[in-house]
């Protein structure tokens, strides 16, 4: 088994809220590995901590009010990113680990051309001249499939459509051929048809450039199509980890089951959508014991008291007592 490119161990990112309403423990002990060349999907509803996790890796969390707790470990190629001095961290950002954000319109600077913004990382890390950097920018625009790249390179973000802007963001991230690409909900802000194109693009680029991708999304469909392995997050924790096929064939955690049941299927007979009852709890007051227990159809006393660790064998683990005691699983009433 090869060494993981990125190792995250027990990551805790907390936020101080105003007026002493307590600390929001947005990420509360998250661990996962990312191997070279693979696509790891991180799935979860909004509020589960997946975006904060991704921002923590590159230490892009605003320092007040957020902070990464000591005891967290983020290792990239053996170096602890959390202990790096700022110049060393900057050398990795945009260069070895790059990030694509969710909202391409606000994430692009409106006063610089698209070409300037793509070239910036190359100028910073590879010290390319303006001319060489511009040529590289055109190269990248071609790579991401933007029509008329030689013309578009001098356009401003507001002159491009949503899908094109996201391509530009991807080009911007890839210009230094990073080993890891963190894509935070890259398609959420786009139309469905454009979504498919962007995902295809990411797949192609990954194959061509041989990089690892950390794909963060709330959309199970995206994960099913793109990811090799999946991490499911809930309430600031990892609740299930598995290779994609294993996850979809047999989810272990009731939350994952609930997520899948909530997705309408075009090939199944029409039935009522099964929503997961209840709401995501506030990060300032996670429930005791297993954090999912208030919404879980199978919960029993133990779940309210003791927080389960990740249980299971090999690559498929879940944070649920049912893994040890499958008999406790209640039979669900059949729906039509």
């Amino acid at each position: 088994m090869t060494e993981p490119l990125l190792r995250v161990r027990d990551l805790k990112t907390y936020f101080v809220t105003e007026q002493g309403r307590g600390t929001a423990r947005a990420v509360d002990g998250v661990s996962f590995d990312l191997y070279p060349g693979e696509t790891l999907g991180i799935v979860g509803e909004s509020g589960c901590g997946k975006t904060v996790t991704s921002l923590s890796i590159l230490r892009l969390i605003p320092e007040p009010p957020g902070h990464i707790r000591p005891g967290s470990l983020i290792e990239f190629e053996g170096r602890n990113l959390l202990a790096l001095a700022p110049p060393d961290l900057r050398a990795i950002r945009g260069n070895q680990i790059a990030m694509v954000f969710q909202e391409p319109m606000t994430s692009l600077n409106p006063v610089f051309t698209v070409g300037d913004q793509i070239a910036e990382a190359a100028i910073i890390h590879q010290r390319l001249s303006r001319k060489a950097a511009r040529a590289r920018a055109i190269e990248m625009l071609t790579l991401v499939g933007l029509p008329d790249p030689a013309e578009r390179v001098d356009h401003y973000p507001h002159q491009l459509s949503g899908g094109m802007r996201q391509r530009v963001m991807i080009a911007m991230a890839l210009v230094c051929h990073p080993k890891v690409l963190i894509a935070d909900e890259p398609t959420t802000a786009l139309d469905v048809t454009i979504q498919a194109q962007i995902l295809e693009l990411l797949e192609r680029l990954q194959a061509e450039l041989g990089m690892a991708v950390l794909l963060i999304t709330h959309d199970l469909g995206v994960v099913a199509g793109q990811a090799d392995r999946v991490v499911v997050m809930y309430a600031g924790q990892v609740v299930e980890t598995a290779p994609t096929t294993a996850l979809f064939d047999g989810p272990l955690h009731p939350y994952t089951e609930g997520l899948m049941a909530a997705v309408p299927r075009i090939d199944a007979p029409k039935s009522r959508l099964q929503a997961i009852p209840g709401q995501v709890p506030a990060a300032t007051a996670w429930p005791s014991g297993c954090r999912f227990h208030p919404r879980c159809p199978h919960a029993w006393t133990k779940c309210t008291i003791e927080e389960p660790p990740l249980l299971g064998d090999g690559d498929h683990t879940a944070r649920c007592w049912l893994v040890q005691e499958p008999g406790r699983r209640k039979r669900q009433p059949e729906t039509e």
Binding site: T106, S107, V111, I124, H158, Q159
Partner: protein, 325 residues
Amino acid sequence: MTAWLVRRVAASVAIVFAVITLTFFLMAVAPGEELLGPDERQVDPQVRAELRRQFGLDEGLLVRYVKYLRQLAHGNLGVSFALHRPVADALAEAIPNTLLLAGAALFIDFLLGLALGVYQALRVHRLPDVVLGNVTLFLYSVPTFWLGLILLLVFGAWLRWFPVAGMSDPILCPNVSSLYCTMDRLWHLALPALTLGFVGAAGTARFQRAAMLEVAAQDYIRTARAKGASERRVVLRHQLRNALLSFITLFGLAFPFLLTGAVLIETIFAWPGMGRLATDAILRRDFPVVNAAVLLASTLVVGGSLLADVLLAAADPRLRVRETA
């Protein structure tokens, strides 16, 4: 783009025209006698009637208005009642002085204000920011003329670092522009320009601080960091460039402030500029001068705002190019 520019300039011209008309009619319909100063000497009615005829004040209102417009078109601003010389001449003497004062004040205002605002934003909520924030709050809240008086007292009378009145040494430098005289003029210019400049800078600093902080919260700043840019690059290239856009709008607002300030500061420092000319004329009911002064002031204000709009359109790519993908 050019269509917009044409429309904008036309609107500005229309506004100035409206101002001219408004002031003319206001002056013409007001009660009280023209030609009579505050002492209201009893002038022989026959002499008064003769003077009125001379100045064309006995003709109908609309006739006077049309005549006035025609005169303006020829660059003739009329003859001052009180000074007995063409208004244009009096103004031509006074305007450069006001422009000098306003220009120097503007320079200090923007330079200092920009630097302070950016510095404060970079040290936000820490001691330098808090201290400077209170200082700018104070300077922004004081009456400009009172500050002028205090500075005059401290630096002019007590410390004798600067002269207390006038534009230059009347004995040694009558219209001689040698190095000594230039220095002398700068020396005289210092206090009034600093007064106006400091108050303006306080406002600019507050505004610029807010603009920088607003930009700092934007997503694209996070993107710049994610690319591995150093803090210096993030601030100077990304933050500042965007914050400067809102700074340009300040440019348009600076003109009314400077003109108002000029009126008061010129009075205190005995600076022979447009403001003083206007105040004297108004108290003497010297209509042609008042008309011309108001016209000029409004033109400057409108011109300033037009300039700011043009600069903004040139600097902000979102306003510049109109095609979409």
